[in-house]
């Protein structure tokens, strides 16, 4: 499967990662090589095989609806790059 620079650009946008033109070119080649290697999976016959998302045979792991203490506001905001009046602050959302 080909990973064109256009596709990579699309994927980078989806991942919200800014790439320099040099990075774009280098990564495109590297990922192409890796995908080429991954393509050996096409040799495997997977007809009728179920996917394994969870390796354990666990099910119905639930918790009771009992309240627990929330974090004190100082702790919540302690790591915030920018804050104001107990809110996290982000650059303008609407263009």
């Amino acid at each position: 499967m080909a990973l064109s620079p256009e596709t990579l650009k699309y994927v980078a946008d989806l991942s919200r990662i800014e790439l320099t033109p040099q990075e774009l070119e280098k990564l495109s080649q590297q990922l192409q090589t890796i995908l080429g290697f991954i393509d050996q999976l096409s040799r495997v016959d997977i007809a009728g095989i179920e996917p394994t998302s969870h390796i354990l045979q666990l099910s119905n792991v639930l918790r009771e609806d009992n309240p627990k203490a929330s974090l004190p506001i100082e702790k919540t905001l302690a790591n915030a790059p920018q804050k104001k009046d107990n809110f996290f602050v982000v650059p303008k959302v609407i263009e």
């Binding site: 946008d13 989806l14 919200r16 998302s53 969870h54 354990l56 666990l58 099910s59 119905n60 792991v61 639930l62 918790r63 009771e64 609806d65 009992n66 309240p67 627990k68 203490a69 929330s70 974090l71 506001i73 919540t76 905001l77 920018q82 104001k84 009046d85 107990n86 809110f87 996290f88 602050v89 982000v90 650059p91 303008k92 959302v93 609407i94 263009e95």
Partner: protein
């Protein structure tokens, strides 16, 4: 060409659990910003979700009440998009195996009933709230992680009226289940609408638009009316409908395009690895089924049957579970077989008092026996007139522990039926209105009501109008 609209609704209902869906933070409304959060709902590095069992139970309950198939095997998936109110930039939701699917909800418009098909109802986590300032936005994560049930219909609604009816019934059912407040103002019920039009008789779907920012059921209906017209006009002008999201402007009564450079939706769903799947046994489903109360539709039929009430009255009485329970207690307390007076007093005077007080009927705390006593005093014993009865009821609403009789006594409101004491007042009225009295005598019997009115006025409503009329007839006819 004649066009018909095709509508689909997506309703988000916030479930009324005490704690959030994947952590133990409180769901209490109105806390100060970022105080009902913990590492889990903030999506801090390293945290893991664990599902709230009550959120799952409530979701199953709604599924069953909406005639859905509750799936034996259900799981959660991650849905990815970047937005600052979504702390992990992914939402734990359900993709291909929702808790329930393939249900329906009956709606009646213009006397005709049909079943609106429900595609699915799935559980997911809510996002936080953003407050936009001039140059930046503020983020409050209190709402993040509250349990949301998303209920999606098929494109199977064919008029704004039907959409309105669907929402009203849906809200009523969910409130009956006591799993959500369904309060659009508080955002515990939210609705988006998809709408397209097609030439009548055609089966395919036209290009749709999605309407957001709908803050009431009325807004849903009005926006759909607007959009249908816009679609038809656009097509008639030879233009094409653009698939887009439009915002409803309630004040101006129109939708506007969001015009954002929306990127193609590529949510990259995959099974949530941190949550093993859920297997819902038949026993579990049966157990939950038993906890489902009588729903509005069944209740209407039963009220009609048991209390001999007309459908119109019944529908109003059962609009919410609380109102229905309130009404039923009073219907039962009324000893007569004919329960109509009770229904009349609830949907008439009591409802208008509630409307004035801006509250629900059931919130008027007049005890059932006091309420019944009042009805008896008016309707049977005729101690007071209907008009006085309404006034007494209003007073009772203000002091619910006081009985009707007590209020009548204290305020000396009892009806005067004693002929001797009424004669005097009647004499005076005839004297001051000689011309009308003459008219009655000469055969204009309708004019007698004017004189009755005058007597009522003079006695400040206390005279028994029937007795007054009798006396006047005897005197003048």
């Amino acid at each position: 060409m004649e066009y018909e609209p095709v509508i689909g609704l997506e309703v988000h209902v916030q479930l009324k659990t005490r704690t959030k869906v994947f952590c133990g933070c409180s769901t209490e409304y109105g806390a100060s910003p970022n105080t009902q959060v913990c590492p889990v709902c903030l999506g801090f590095p390293g945290v893991l979700p664990v599902l709230n069992c009550l959120a799952l139970e409530y979701s199953i309950k709604v599924g069953l009440a909406l005639n859905c198939t509750v799936q034996e095997f259900t799981k959660f998936d991650r849905k990815h998009y970047y937005y600052p109110d979504l702390p992990k930039n992914l939402q734990i939701s359900q993709y291909d195996l929702p808790i329930s699917k393939d249900g329906f909800l009956e709606v009646t418009v213009d006397g005709k009933s049909r079943k609106v098909k429900i595609r699915r109802a799935h559980l997911e986590e809510d996002a936080g709230k953003l407050i936009h300032e001039d140059n930046f936005s503020l983020v409050d994560f209190n709402r993040t992680g509250q349990p949301l049930l998303e209920i999606v219909t098929e494109p199977d609604i064919f008029s704004p009226e039907e959409a309105y009816e669907y929402l009203t019934n849906l809200k009523s059912i969910i409130q009956y289940l006591e799993v959500s407040d369904c309060d659009m103002e508080k955002g515990t019920l939210r609705c988006d609408a998809n709408i397209s039009v097609r030439p009548k008789g055609q089966t395919g779907l036209g290009t749709k638009s999605e309407i957001k920012n709908l803050n009431s059921f009325k807004a849903v209906r009005d926006s759909l009316v607007y959009e249908i017209e816009r679609h038809i006009e656009t097509i008639n002008n030879g233009e094409k409908i653009v698939q887009e999201t439009r915002l409803w402007d309630d004040k101006k009564g129109r939708t506007v395009s969001m015009r954002s450079k929306e990127e193609a939706k590529d949510y990259r769903y995959f099974p949530e690895p941190d949550l093993p799947p859920f297997i819902i046994s038949k026993e579990k489903i049966e157990g939950i089924k038993k906890t489902i109360p009588e729903l509005p539709k069944e209740k209407i039929l039963r009220f009609m049957r048991e209390y001999g009430l007309p459908e119109y009255d019944t529908k109003i009485l059962v609009s919410t579970k609380e109102n229905a329970d309130y009404a039923e207690k009073r219907l039962k307390a009324f000893p007569d077989k004919d329960k109509k007076p009770v229904a009349n007093w609830i949907i008439g005077p009591l409802a208008s008092i509630a409307a004035n007080l801006k509250c629900e009927i059931y919130q008027i705390k007049i005890p059932a026996n006091n309420f019944i006593e009042l009805i008896n005093l008016v309707e049977k014993k005729q101690v007071i007139s209907n008009l006085t009865g309404k006034a007494v009821l209003e007073k009772m609403a203000g002091m619910p522990e006081k009985s009707a009789a007590k209020i009548i006594e204290e305020e000396n409101l009892a009806q005067v039926s004693d002929e001797a004491s009424l004669e005097k007042e009647i004499d005076a009225v005839i004297k001051t209105n000689p011309k009308v009295a003459e008219d009655v005598k000469s055969g204009k019997t309708n004019s007698i009501m004017f004189l009755v009115g005058q007597v009522m006025k003079k006695t400040r409503g206390k005279a028994n109008p029937k007795v007054v009329q009798e006396i006047l007839k005897r005197r003048l006819v």
